[in-house]
């Protein structure tokens, strides 16, 4: 199996392993291999170039000296021949002067007549007979030959006519030059080996540093997945890695925020469902109980009337709850139609709706309007203010005063509903707009309240782009404040 093959059992893999390690190792090995390839290729090119240069220089020198010796030898041949002396008798003497070239033991000469050697200043014969098979174009052959562990550049060429049955062979020992080149090449590779090792070490350190944030991200992702939304990456510097860490932290922040919102929403929904179930259970139990009573118990007509009254009132309350929930759903899903409403008209309608109830409770409502027009949906605003006043009446005792004040706060329009009732604690204030929330747990729904009044008020305020807030002090009263953000 390939080392880099992923095992599905190793956990989820998104582009890199869960730990990021194989990617680091892959990057390390790929970079190292690329470096080694090009570095060694460089050494190879340098080595081959210098080798060719060494051989070329040796060949150039050999060709030059071969030409020089041959030219001189021809002159000697002519001169000796002109004096009527047999060349072959004088070959040793004629070639002896050139032995100065082998002073450093690097040059060797040989003269052939046909394939027969007639002069040589070397102990061993290192000439391949094939080297002597020259054509009649008088080309000289230059090549490298190995003999007894030594390397020679060999130049062989026929002498020009009339001495073309002679072949002058010149050897130049390049063993030392090639040994020097070999040493240089080995030194280069050794240096390359050391440098490669250092590079590998450095590369590993660098990649550890580069991949560290990825590892941290990996750990952090798992922490976030496990619910630790406050986990953050350390950010330092201004490089791409820091930028990535910043982005990731921002993402984590957003995730945390979204999760919190989702959790809150889920909690609210659960609470809503719990409360709704609770609110439905009482009237349904009552209805079932009275219905069963009518069915199974022999009762008087008066009792029947009483029971059916109960059944009807509880049914009405269920109907109210249903209508209110329907209203809220409608309010959430539909945009409302707002227009300029005369505040005086709005307050008049509220007075009509509330005066009877307030009078019955011996509570006085004072209306103060300090601006004329309000941009709103008149019906919804009526419902909202009536709901707030109704709650205020419920919190007040006889002879208490409730104030409805519409005034300007800076450039914003504000409506206060202030009562001098029993007030409530801070804890209750945070929850009063939740559906079915009851401040006084002992209070029954006998009044027919659906427990959705303030929730509906909050929704209406939101639809108007207004902010509904409450302030209260136990024993001193509560103030509901509706602040309009748009005129």
């Amino acid at each position: 199996m390939n080392y880099f093959d992923r095992n599905p059992k190793d956990g989820p893999q998104v582009g890199l392993s869960f730990e990021g390690k194989p990617m680091k190792y892959r990057t390390f090995l790929t970079t190292l291999m690329l470096f080694l390839f090009f570095f060694n290729l460089g050494i190879l090119i340098i080595s081959i170039t210098t080798f060719k240069d060494t051989i070329a220089r040796a060949e150039e020198k050999s060709l030059g000296e071969h030409y020089f010796i041959t030219s001189s030898l021809i002159k000697d041949f002519y001169a000796v021949e002109n004096r009527g002396i047999d060349i072959e008798d004088s070959l040793g003497a004629l070639l002896q002067p050139y032995s100065y070239l082998s002073g450093d033991k690097k040059v060797k000469l040989a003269l052939y007549k046909g394939n027969q050697i007639v002069y040589s200043d070397q102990p061993q014969n290192i000439v391949k007979s094939s080297s002597l098979e020259l054509d009649k174009t008088r080309d000289r052959l230059v090549s490298s030959q190995k003999s007894e562990g030594r390397t020679y550049v060999m130049v062989s060429g026929k002498l020009p006519a009339p001495f073309d049955d002679y072949t002058m062979v010149y050897f130049y020992d390049t063993t030392d030059s090639i040994a020097a080149w070999n040493q240089m090449k080995n030194m280069l590779f050794l240096a390359g080996l050391i440098l490669s090792s250092l590079l590998a070490f450095g590369l590993l350190l660098l990649l550890n540093r580069i991949f560290k944030p990825l590892t941290q991200i990996s750990h952090m992702s798992r922490s976030i997945a496990a619910g630790a939304y406050d986990t953050r990456l350390p950010v330092s510097g201004q490089d791409e890695l820091s930028e990535m860490a910043r982005s990731f932290n921002h993402m984590a922040e957003e995730i945390k925020s979204q999760i919190m919102q989702l959790a809150t929403a889920a909690e609210q929904k659960q609470q809503f469902v719990d409360n709704l179930a609770h609110e439905l259970r009482t009237p349904l139990t009552t209805i079932y109980g009275y219905a069963e009573y009518i069915q199974k118990v022999v009762c008087t007509e008066e009792d029947k009337v009483l029971a059916t009254n109960y059944i009807m009132s509880e049914s009405r309350r269920l109907q109210n709850i249903a209508y209110r929930l329907l209203d809220m759903a409608t309010l959430r899903e539909n945009s409302i139609e707002r227009g300029d409403v005369c505040l005086e008209e709005l307050v008049r309608g509220i007075k009509q709706a509330m005066s009877l109830k307030a009078t019955a409770q011996d509570i006085k409502i004072i209306y103060e309007c300090r601006f004329d027009m309000l941009f709103c949906d008149a019906d919804l605003m009526h419902i909202l203010l009536v709901n707030l006043l109704d709650n205020a009446i419920k919190a007040c005792k006889p002879r208490d005063i409730i104030k409805l004040v519409a005034e300007l706060e800076g450039d914003r329009k504000v409506i206060f509903i202030q009562d001098s009732g029993k007030g409530m604690s801070e804890e209750h204030l945070d929850n009063i707009t939740k559906a079915f929330y009851r401040v006084d747990l002992s209070r029954s729904r006998s009044g027919g309240g659906a427990g959705l009044g303030l929730t509906l008020c909050q929704q209406i305020a939101l639809n108007h782009g207004a902010e509904l807030s409450f302030s209260s002090e136990l024993g001193k009263g509560t103030t509901a404040k509706l602040t309009f953000t748009s005129s």
């Binding site: 080392y3 869960f18 730990e19 390690k21 194989p22 190792y25 390390f28 090995l29 190292l32 080694l36 390839f37 060694n40 290729l41 050494i43 190879l44 080595s47 081959i48 080798f51 051989i55 060949e59 060709l63 030409y67 030219s71 001189s72 021809i74 002159k75 000697d76 002519y78 001169a79 000796v80 002109n82 004096r83 002396i85 008798d89 004088s90 003497a93 004629l94 002896q96 002067p97 100065y100 070239l101 002073g103 080297s131 008088r138 080309d139 000289r140 052959l141 230059v142 090549s143 490298s144 190995k146 060429g157 020009p160 090449k185 590779f189 390359g192 080996l193 490669s196 090792s197 590998a200």
Partner: protein, 289 residues
């Protein structure tokens, strides 16, 4: 725990692969180099060659082409009376000393307008040596019993290696180096060019004439010029700074050998002049073998 174990395993494998790759790559490339160099060594190149053989030295009639107006003088040919010359004897390939003397006599007639009637030429044989790997005849020419000229001839080919005039000035003249002349030797350059053309010193058209050095001998201050031919031949011509007279000509063959020898000596000196490892120790030349 499992992840950590996998990481350790992965790290070990990576390290193993890295070490293997680092170790194997030089071997692989070494192998490639060996292959390439082996192929390079197996190559055989053909070099078309034409030898330019000087017709003068190859023609049997050459020795009989005499300078204009030359008539063989009646001079005696002797031997230089020195042990050095007595210990060296010509071989079968060498020309006789009389033949070499006549080549020199013709050259003296042509260059120095010298008639050797009744004079003496003393000859000495030189074997080939490293700095001049040609056997040659050296001649001292005595005019009225006084050594006045000398020349050297290749003992095999009869090629003239050099010709010189020896004189001792009896005047009080400066032998010092003339820096003015060194910076402006044009007069001697022209003179050298003119005479080199006249005597065909480089056996062909002249490519350049360059000032080389100044010196003196026998109370006679001199200046030497390098004459280079288009055929690559190089000769040295020495003139007297006293009266601009031509003192000597060194022909191409010995000049080239001398330059090659100088190059070899320089190379050997550089090899021997190893810088000291100890910085406090002065660099020194190692003894030459």
């Amino acid at each position: 725990m499992k992840t950590e174990r996998l990481n350790r395993k992965g790290w070990k494998r990576t390290a193993l692969i890295a070490v293997t790759v680092i170790g194997a790559s030089p071997l692989l490339f070494q192998g490639i180099i060996q292959g390439v160099t082996a192929a390079e060594l197996k190559k055989t190149d053909r070099v078309p060659t034409t030898y330019s053989i000087d017709a003068v030295s190859t023609s049997p009639a050459a020795q009989y082409s005499l300078p204009e107006g030359y008539q063989k003088a009646n001079y005696t040919v002797g031997t230089i009376n020195l042990d050095y010359y007595r210990n060296q004897m010509p071989t079968s390939k060498d020309m006789a000393k009389e033949v070499a003397a006549e080549i020199g006599a013709q050259a003296l007639w042509e260059i120095f307008d010298l008639n050797l009637e009744g004079q003496e030429i003393q000859m000495g044989y030189n074997q080939a040596v490293e700095h001049l790997p040609r056997s040659r005849w050296h001649a001292d020419v005595y005019i009225n019993g006084k050594r006045s000229y000398s020349f050297e001839v290749d003992s095999v080919t009869g090629e003239l290696f050099g010709i010189a005039r020896s004189r001792t000035l009896d005047k009080q003249i400066s032998l010092a180096y003339d820096s003015k002349l060194a910076s402006n030797p044009q007069e001697y350059v022209e003179r050298a060019r003119k005479l080199a053309e006249k005597y065909n010193v480089v056996h062909g058209p002249i490519k350049s004439v360059e000032y080389n050095n100044q010196g003196y001998s026998n109370n006679d201050p001199d200046i030497t010029m390098y004459v280079t031919g288009e055929n690559g031949e190089m000769a040295m011509m020495t003139f007297s700074r006293y009266d601009k007279a031509l003192l000597s000509i060194g022909y191409s063959t010995p000049t080239k050998y001398a330059l090659e020898q100088a190059e070899r000596d320089m190379k050997r000196l550089q090899e021997k002049a190893t810088p000291s490892v100890d910085d406090n120790e002065a660099p020194s030349l190692k003894e030459m073998e």
